[in-house]
């Protein structure tokens, strides 16, 4: 428990304009130094969870139940000042679109300086500048001084995302939350950026919460994975177990949809919106759907640290239950 850097407990998030919740009863944790994947389709609530870890909600949104602990501090109870100090210093954030994330008219160097000055007693001004430059070098920017003097519009997508990564690393946070960090980039640089991000995090002993819809990326970089659908956790556990022998029908469908070489592309059952109510959101698409799926699915522990929320598991696949 105390080893967990971030612990999300029964989190529900809602946006005021709709009665239904964007995220329901989500619990997960990331240990110090752990690389954790958070996967799901668009609208599954993965970004909402990621931002809740920084105590941020989109306009009109807010926590409706449960809590988020970061390093033992309950974010909902933390005074605004300490919450702000925590962002950047304990948890760094990387978003989808590096062009949007960097300020259009403030120079890159000044943006580093602003982050430094927002957190007390981190570094001196000169030391900070050279630290920013060396960070930029670490993330693979050849002429850091020139970039520090420049603006976003002069950078390519890959360079801009490198700058964003450097900004997120700047205050040596203990966890990086990366929300689809490569969606906005060309395919050719996606791998480079992910290698860079995970490499830097490993070197610095930081944890990483990687939000993505790409199972291949999760399989390659993460130790543990949490699968979200319709705002609920479907299955969570070690990547090797969950992605190799999935026990939840949704995860099965997800893994089956990954094309392998020499195999024609297959589609899952006709795409449909998740059902948002007390029951399982996947039941309309689920091949193992049964009448009790309209009630809340139970959490079934398959092995240590591996859980699935499904009515169908303990009866159909008993082989894993201890």
């Amino acid at each position: 428990m105390s080893a967990d850097l971030v612990s999300v407990q029964g989190l529900s998030v809602g946006y005021s304009r709709r009665a239904s919740l964007a995220v329901r009863d989500v619990s997960m944790s990331v240990a110090a130094g752990e690389f954790h994947g958070l996967v799901g389709e668009s609208g599954s609530g993965k970004s909402t969870v990621a931002r809740a870890i920084l105590g941020m909600y989109a306009r009109g949104g807010g926590i409706r139940g449960g809590r988020v602990l970061v390093d033992g501090d309950d974010l909902t109870r933390l005074p605004a000042r300490r919450l702000r100090q925590l962002r950047g210093a304990k948890v760094g954030y990387i978003g989808q679109n590096p062009f949007g994330a960097l300020h259009p008219v403030i120079s890159i160097g000044d943006q580093f300086e602003m982050v430094r000055r927002s957190h007390r007693g981190v570094l001196g001004r000169e030391a900070a500048r050279s630290r920013a430059a060396s960070l930029l070098e670490h993330v693979g920017i050849r002429d850091p001084e020139l970039v520090l003097r420049g603006h976003v519009h002069q950078l390519s997508g890959g360079m801009a995302q490198r700058v964003v990564i450097a900004l997120a690393l700047y205050l040596e946070p203990r966890l990086i939350v990366a929300d689809e960090p490569t969606t906005g980039l060309d395919v050719t640089v996606q791998r480079q950026i992910l290698d860079l991000l995970t490499g830097q995090a490993t070197r610095r002993g930081m944890g990483l919460l990687l939000v993505t819809h790409d199972l291949g990326v999760v399989a390659q970089y993460c130790e543990n994975v949490t699968v979200l659908y319709g705002g609920r956790i479907m299955e969570a556990g070690p990547v090797r177990s969950v992605l190799v022998t999935p026990s939840h029908p949704y995860t099965e469908a997800l893994v089956a949809a990954v094309p392998t070489r020499g195999q024609a592309l297959r589609f899952t059952a006709a795409s449909d919106h998740p059902v948002i109510d007390e029951g399982c959101p996947f039941r309309r698409r689920c091949p193992r759907s049964r009448p009790e799926c309209v009630t809340r699915p139970p959490a079934v522990t398959i092995a240590a640290g591996w859980q699935a929320n499904c009515h169908g598991i303990d009866k159909a696949d008993m082989q894993c239950v201890s």
Partner: protein, 377 residues
């Protein structure tokens, strides 16, 4: 690896986002054309200035000349005989073909003359230049009030979108937007002069008891201060308060609405999100939003300046303020066409100059333009 559900392919997304991220919503054409080097840009704009002024002069002349109405009859009154009307028409040159009059007017303007008043016979240039300082003295503090109040209300509304302070700010802006300037002026006079008697009534720039300071700039507050005449300066400032507040408050409405929209976009943008995720304090996020939308704010400030220069006439009349606006309206009422033409030319030229300065300022402030230029030169 694959993509789930109905996500776009990454390549498509990347292109789309680069396009949207680089587009400046206020100047869409700037992205399409290649931006010329700053020097050429400035030179082009300055060369265009005389052309614009020429268009304004011509427009002013033709609009006034082609308006319906019989000038001579209006000057002489309804009982004038036809021969009197004919004499006045020939004295004023009104019986000549319009292009002859146009040519004469243009050559006069080129020699620095805007003609003379039908009514007083004095040169229009003199009439206008003696009144322009009073207008400037009124408009400058009014602008300061309008900009401060407008951006503050807009920023409050944008930051607290759909919460209590936003409702209040929007309510305030709706009230401001809905009150006619002359009504607000009169109500302020009622409260501050008639009831509380803390400020002077509508008697112009100074009381009848005050003697005007020696003429330097024509602006009484500055002239009195230059002359070291403290009591006249205080009186001039006290006379300035109500008209300047009236104008400033009324003109803050449009800027406030624009500021709310611009800052609202900036405050929900990804760079604000990212700044917040980096732990920047909220006041800095607001400041960054103002910085990011400064070209837009500047544009609307320029529109504000342009509209207040000609638009303060009614307030000048309410407060008996002896400026060019009041003069123009009075001239209009007695059909003193050269005076009105002169006013239109002066105000139109000022407007064009304000827009020129705006273009130069936004070119200098926008790093996208500034850097492209410095790299090449």
């Amino acid at each position: 690896m694959t993509l789930m559900g109905n996500e776009h392919t990454p390549v498509r997304c990347a292109r789309h986002q680069i396009k949207t991220a680089r587009q400046d919503p206020l100047r869409p054409e700037a992205t399409r054309q290649r931006i010329p080097p700053l020097a050429r840009f400035i030179a082009m704009r300055i060369l265009m200035l005389p052309v614009s002024v020429f268009v304004i002069i011509s427009a002013s002349f033709f609009l006034m000349s082609l308006l319906p109405g019989d000038i001579a009859r209006a000057l002489l009154g309804p009982v004038a005989t036809p021969s009197q009307v004919a004499r006045v028409n020939s004295e004023l040159g009104l019986n000549q073909p319009i292009f002859v009059r146009y040519w004469r007017y243009i050559s006069d303007v080129a020699h620095g003359s805007l003609g003379s008043s039908y009514y007083t016979g004095r040169a229009i240039v003199k009439e206008l230049s003696s009144r322009l300082p009073a207008t400037i003295e009124l408009v400058v503090p009014a602008l300061a009030i309008a900009i401060l109040l407008g951006i503050t209300l807009g920023a409050i509304g944008a930051y607290y979108t759909r919460r209590r302070p936003d409702t209040l700010a929007r309510f305030g802006l709706t009230v401001i937007q809905s009150v006619p300037d002359f009504l607000l002026g009169l109500l302020l006079i009622l409260v501050c002069f008639s009831w509380l008697n803390i400020l002077p009534g509508p008697e112009g720039q100074l009381s009848f008891a005050d003697s005007p300071p020696p003429h330097v700039t024509g602006m009484y507050v500055i002239d009195a201060l230059l002359a070291g005449d403290g009591s006249t300066a205080v009186s001039a400032i006290r006379h300035l308060v109500l008209p300047a507040v009236t104008l400033g408050v009324v003109y803050s409405a449009t800027l406030g609405r624009t500021a709310r929209a611009l800052l609202g976009n900036a405050l929900t943008s990804e760079y604000t999100q990212f700044g917040r995720a980096c732990g920047l304090p909220e006041f800095r996020l607001v400041r960054n939003a103002v910085l990011a939308s400064r070209t837009g704010l500047l544009t609307y400030t320029a529109v504000l300046i342009a509209s207040i220069i000609g638009g303060d006439a009614v307030v000048e009349i309410v407060f008996s303020w002896n400026g060019v606006g009041q003069y123009a309206v009075q001239s209009m009422l007695r059909q003193d066409l050269p005076a009105v033409e002169g006013f239109v030319i002066v105000v139109g030229t000022l407007t064009v100059v304000v827009y020129l300065l705006l273009d130069l300022a936004s070119a200098l402030l926008d790093p996208r333009i500034r850097f492209d230029v410095s790299r090449r030169s």
